[in-house]
Symmetry: C2
Subunit: 374 residues, 2 copies
């Protein structure tokens, strides 16, 4: 059996509706994966997270290797036990975090030395180690160790990162032997279409279970990001899942699905939720705003989440103002439900072959909403 | 119908098993009320709170009058709507908080002027206002405005506080006209048994729906506190509920139930939970302790709470260390379930007339546990 099956395709765009089979259950794509950095999605219990319609969560190898350490995670029964998450888990390789959070000391052709952002400890990580650590963490999907070039960046540096990423991908593919874990390659290349093509072609030769587009959402802006994703997606095999890492805003997700992307992850719904920023179909709501002080309506009237079924905007504003944890908890619940409902709508629209029309209308509403933000 | 019914009494102690009827449902006593200071019990959703076995929660008039303001609470549909709590709510009068949190400027015979702990605003509160504010908040049980003397304190100051408390209680009794809200008097008098007797006698004449013992747990120590409660409880009418305010530790609750107390409130389970301190039948567990790093067992093996059914001590220790909100959330859930299970055990033991034996055994175990704390 193939790990990935395409259930239907939209005839007016590259959007596809698929199912990705993993050791901990099926993932209906296009899918949004909330980020559980250190083994917990911030501000929400796994039970409430499941209620939002979340099927798969992401955890960060970088954070977990530093704290509590991979050996400890193993002793505690690996990631699923630690997190109390019964569904699929994807672990990233640590590459992105080393380049964004760690203080880099040395990039070599065979690996990277960095200083932990927690205690400054010097740590060396390479493709083989990153793969073995992910094998031990026990996620259902693991990612290749890659070099993520900063933005902006000289072409020669991006090219070097692409070459290392290809070299490391070969090692990861070879080292990875755990049959119940899928492994995805990561295409790098910044916003350079030729480098993206080269990287994609080399990775496709290695026959990964899926392909990610990495190194975006690092400052290049929404337009360049989407342009690069739209260019890269068709270079990846139709029959394998495509994952756009670290993306994004609702409109970016819709546009990327249209280009044939199947998987997304982003901290936006949870991070914004903790900061009193709620997503709605008619634009974002900033819950600290005084305008909400005596508003009895929920964040979004027709939302079925625990927050909207039980709490007014006035109550939420008060909880944020009073420093009550309930404010961040409830708004995280709402935002994640908002994202998962969006994904369900996307999947539904593809199934009935109406995605392109649906997407156009939705993007127009969302542009309108952005102008009336409160 | 009486508001309070005694279902059974323990023949070897003063413990009693009762039911207090309120506009939002029955309260089985002895009962523990979690503290929802600003309209939220910190670190837990109302849905999870109900799952712990909580029937009634407390909210603080002092905090709510300052933020978001009583008018705002009214506009948002009063306390039950704001908090999304369907069961009974008790509001305190603000007296205790003014004396403990507010910066006092003036105590007069007719009221108190204090500076808000939030923004320093000067506010005058008297018995009539405190009652009307509670009427408007919409709790099911409201409390008289009282003066809480500090500890230690000269007898003359305590005596003055008692006289004012009695005078104010008369005003509260008179002003309170909302038939669906019960009103409780508060006995003051520090640790002076004669002043307690005098205050109790005067309040009983006013025929309140229930009586609280206030002004304890303010630094006098567990022994003096329990001694005062044991002395004061029999001065209160047998047929009315008795509420020991701000108490306490599990062993204190058991001892006070033995003396005939029916109601308790305390921040201990939630505050300690947020600080990684978990209650168990075999003594407290400090979850930040390195000893738990790879422990796969839950906080308490036979606990039926969401935390213990799903998370290991090792996972909890990691969440606290990594600063994840899930640590405080889960430990609050466990601690409140621990308290509510204790209350259910107390009620069960009284029902079968075995409370005194049960209490002795439990207090012995708890003394033992205190010595083996980890």
């Amino acid at each position: 059996m193939q790990n990935f099956e395409i259930v239907s395709e939209d005839s007016n765009s590259s959007a596809r509706r698929g199912v990705l089979h993993t050791a901990h259950g099926d993932i209906q794509t296009p899918v949004f994966m909330p980020v559980g950095t250190s083994g917990a999605v911030k501000g929400i219990t796994p039970a409430l997270l499941a209620e939002t319609g979340t099927s798969v969560v992401l955890a960060n190898t970088y954070h977990l290797m530093l704290r509590p350490g991979v050996e400890v995670v193993e002793k505690l029964g690996r990631l699923h036990k630690l997190m109390s998450w019964r569904g699929p888990i994807l672990t990233d390789s640590g590459g992105y975090q080393i380049f964004s959070l760690g203080s880099l000391s040395r990039i070599e052709d065979n690996g990277v030395e960095f200083a932990s952002h927690i205690d400054g400890e010097k740590i060396f990580l390479d493709a083989e180690t990153a793969t073995r650590l992910q094998n031990r963490l026990g996620g259902d999907i693991i990612m290749c160790f890659d070099e993520c070039a900063p933005f902006p960046c000289e072409r020669s540096r991006v090219q070097k990162a692409v070459e290392r990423t290809i070299r490391w991908a070969k090692i990861c593919r070879e080292v990875h032997k755990v049959s119940e874990q899928l492994i995805f390659g990561i295409v790098q290349g910044g916003i350079d279409v030729e480098l993206r093509r080269h990287c994609a072609e080399e990775l496709v030769k290695l026959d990964f279970d899926g392909y990610a587009i990495g190194g975006l959402s690092v400052g290049e802006g929404s337009e360049q990001m989407l342009h690069t994703a739209e260019h890269t997606a068709p270079l990846l095999p139709r029959e394998k899942p495509r994952y756009l890492m670290g993306v994004g805003k609702p409109a970016e997700i819709i546009t990327a699905v249209r280009a044939g992307i199947d998987m997304f992850d982003c901290v936006l719904p949870s991070r914004n939720g903790r900061n009193a920023y709620a997503f709605t179909d008619t634009g974002p709501v900033r819950l600290r705003n005084n305008i909400h002080i005596d508003k009895t309506e929920p964040i979004q009237a027709d939302c079925d989440c625990y927050c909207c079924r039980n709490f007014s905007r006035g109550a939420l504003r008060h909880f944020f103002n009073a420093g009550e944890m309930l404010g961040p908890i409830l708004t995280t619940v709402h935002n994640l439900r908002f994202y998962q409902r969006l994904m369900a709508q996307i999947r539904g629209a593809i199934e009935i072959n109406e995605f392109e029309q649906w997407a156009r209308q939705r993007l127009a509403t969302s542009n309108e909403a952005a102008r009336t933000e409160i």
